[in-house]
């Protein structure tokens, strides 16, 4: 990075020279980076695939080996965005449908969760009243909420969204309230001396001071919502990666299931990284004092 920026500021007339220079100094670094970060997981992956291939190649195997998975799902892999109407759409659409539900449910969870977390963190009375309720409710498994929400909403889509909401909200509430309660007395005193009003205190002191905690709650929350959506969709049907898996099971398309699992894992991984990255950007400098 450093060499890149210094070479970029060098004289333009020496462009040729610069690009040569850059090529020489950057490539070894990229190569070591790739070697260090991608080679080990790649080796392990190949090994695992090899073992799997060996285990499932026999005649009595119940699951397909990776080679068969790829050949059977090749069309799905090639064209993730086909649309034959109804539930018969590509994997891309299935995942986007699931992501949309997660986005809606998770957004509600963020707003309500941070608000409740601030309340519980700020007010001792709110904490005494609400904390026991939260502690009990958060242990209820996500899917146990589904029948209740189906009864309440009378519709499958809002019910799935509600399940996401109720799954993601607890870690957000709890982490936010811990973050608020851990705001150093000094920062409160600064606010009092400056006579910041409630809103200014909220935006200028409370949110930034609690941001590292809030983001760790958000990160746990997004992971849990992705876990819950797959299970919820299996039950409610419609377009979505969860129901796709269920549908594939009913049609005995084991290879499709395996492909879907790979996609679910990758998307979950990227969601986690996305929130972690946002957190790093927002809380830059906050944690170190």
């Amino acid at each position: 990075m450093k060499t890149l920026s210094t070479t970029a500021t060098e004289n333009v007339s020496a462009l040729n020279h610069v690009s040569m220079n850059r090529g020489r100094s950057i490539w070894p670094r990229i190569r070591t980076y790739l070697l260090q970060n991608f080679l080990p997981p790649l080796v392990i992956l190949c090994l695992l695939l090899g073992v799997w291939e060996l285990l499932c190649s026999g005649t009595g195997a119940t699951l397909p080996p990776p080679s068969q998975v790829i050949s059977e799902t090749w069309e799905l892999i090639l064209d993730p965005f086909y649309d034959n109407g109804g539930n018969d759409v590509g994997m891309g659409w299935q995942i986007l449908a699931s992501l949309e539900r997660v986005a809606v449910g998770y957004s509600f969870a963020v707003i309500v969760g941070v608000a409740l977390g601030v309340l519980v963190g700020q007010s001792t009375w709110a904490m005494r009243g609400l904390d026991p309720v939260f502690q009990v409710l958060r242990t209820v498994p996500p899917l146990a909420w589904l029948p209740i929400s189906l009864a309440g909403f009378q519709d499958s889509n809002p019910s799935a969204i509600f399940v996401i909401f109720i799954t993601a909200i607890w870690p957000i509430i709890i982490n936010t309230s811990v973050g608020i309660r851990n705001i150093p007395e000094d920062y409160r005193n600064v606010a009092r001396v400056l006579r910041l009003n409630g809103l200014e205190y909220f935006y200028k002191i409370m949110l930034p001071a609690a941001a590292p905690y809030i983001f760790s709650g958000l990160r746990i929350g997004v992971g849990l919502s992705w876990l819950a959506i797959v299970a919820a969709e299996m039950l409610i049907g419609g377009v979505g990666i969860g129901f796709f898996i269920w549908d594939a099971w009913n049609a005995s398309l084991i290879s499709d299931i395996i492909l879907a699992l790979v996609y679910v894992g990758l998307v979950g991984f990227f969601l986690d990284r996305l929130v972690a990255m946002l957190g790093n950007i927002v809380t830059r400098g906050t944690s170190a004092s």
């Binding site: 150093p184 005193n189 009092r192 400056l194 006579r195 200014e200 930034p208 400098g285």
Partner: protein, 306 residues
């Protein structure tokens, strides 16, 4: 009602936690004129910070009143700006933003945005921090953080500047440097200052009067020493001044003879001696050997006693 700028009248403080009551301050009376520089010195835990926080309005006294500029103080406000021992800058804001937060809040209506910007820079220039405007607190040294804390407090244009061991966490050289800057700023701006310190040299060098507090519990003001040294004061020249050394010894005598006797009666605070004794050579030690030598016999006496 008195004619003084800042009056602390019959202030008492009792902390209550459940059934445990601790009487920390008893009968504190102090009158400060405009532009005066007052130091409060006393053993650790005697209640110095409590006095300062009552003046700041951050702690409510159990009885008594604090009157500043003919108005009773009963809530915190920017007219009593506080510099904390541990700087308390907001770590997510840059140096500039930390000061700007205060300026925008305090002078949001009275100044235009250009004036506010210039006022932030002016105050950071006072403490020589213009070079690190866009650094965050984690990227600057302890001494620099303390400077920014002072700039933030000055930028509020307070009626009294309250300093709670502002240089306590700094090394001797940095401390001496900052003391000189505070003296310079005080002589230019004529602020009224209340400063808590553990450092005898610092107290004598900076103050117009030194308020010496007795040991807790139920601490009160033991003696008040007027420091009649001409300003501007120069630490190196003062090291040889008999008057300066006389003042030093007055304070040391109060802390280690008069107040030591009390500790036999209430042997609750032995560590306070060690802590204060360590800070004795303080800001002056780097520049004046005779200064440190004067403190040595007293130091030995203290360590021999404990």
């Amino acid at each position: 009602m008195s004619s003084h700028y800042l009056s602390i009248e019959n202030v008492e403080k009792t902390f209550e936690k459940g059934s445990v009551r601790s009487h920390v301050l008893s009968n504190i009376n102090l009158h400060i004129d405009q532009g005066e520089y007052i130091s409060i010195i006393g053993h650790s835990g005697c209640g110095k910070s409590t006095v300062l926080n009552i003046v700041a309005g951050l702690i409510e006294q159990s009885s008594g009143v604090v009157i500043l500029d003919r108005k009773e103080v009963n809530a915190p406000g920017p007219d009593r700006a506080l510099v904390f021992q541990n700087h308390s800058l907001l770590p997510w804001l840059t140096v500039y933003e930390n000061v700007a937060l205060a300026v925008n809040k305090v002078a949001g209506r009275s100044k235009t945005s250009v004036e506010r910007h210039e006022w932030v820079l002016y105050n950071l220039e006072l403490v020589n921090m213009l070079h690190a405007l866009h650094k965050r607190p984690s990227e600057i040294s302890g001494g620099m953080k303390q400077r920014v804390g002072i700039a933030r407090a000055l930028a509020m244009q307070p009626k009294v500047l309250l300093l709670d061991e502002p240089f306590g966490a700094l090394d001797a050289l940095t401390r001496a440097h900052l003391q000189d800057e505070v003296m310079r700023i005080h002589s230019n701006l004529k602020n009224t200052v209340m400063m808590i310190t553990h450092d005898v040299d610092e107290a004598v060098l900076l103050s117009d009067r030194i308020v010496m507090m007795t040991n807790g519990p139920s601490a009160s003001i033991g003696e008040i020493l007027s420091i009649d040294l001409p300003r501007p004061r120069d630490r190196i020249a003062l090291a040889d001044s008999p008057r300066y050394n006389h003042y030093r010894q007055e304070v040391l005598r109060f802390l280690y003879e008069k107040q030591r006797k009390l500790e036999h009666i209430s042997p609750k605070h032995p560590p306070s001696q060690a802590r204060s004794a360590q800070s004795l050579p303080g800001g002056g030690s780097g520049s004046s050997p005779s200064d440190a030598a004067a403190g040595v016999p007293v130091l030995q006496k203290v360590s021999g006693a404990s």
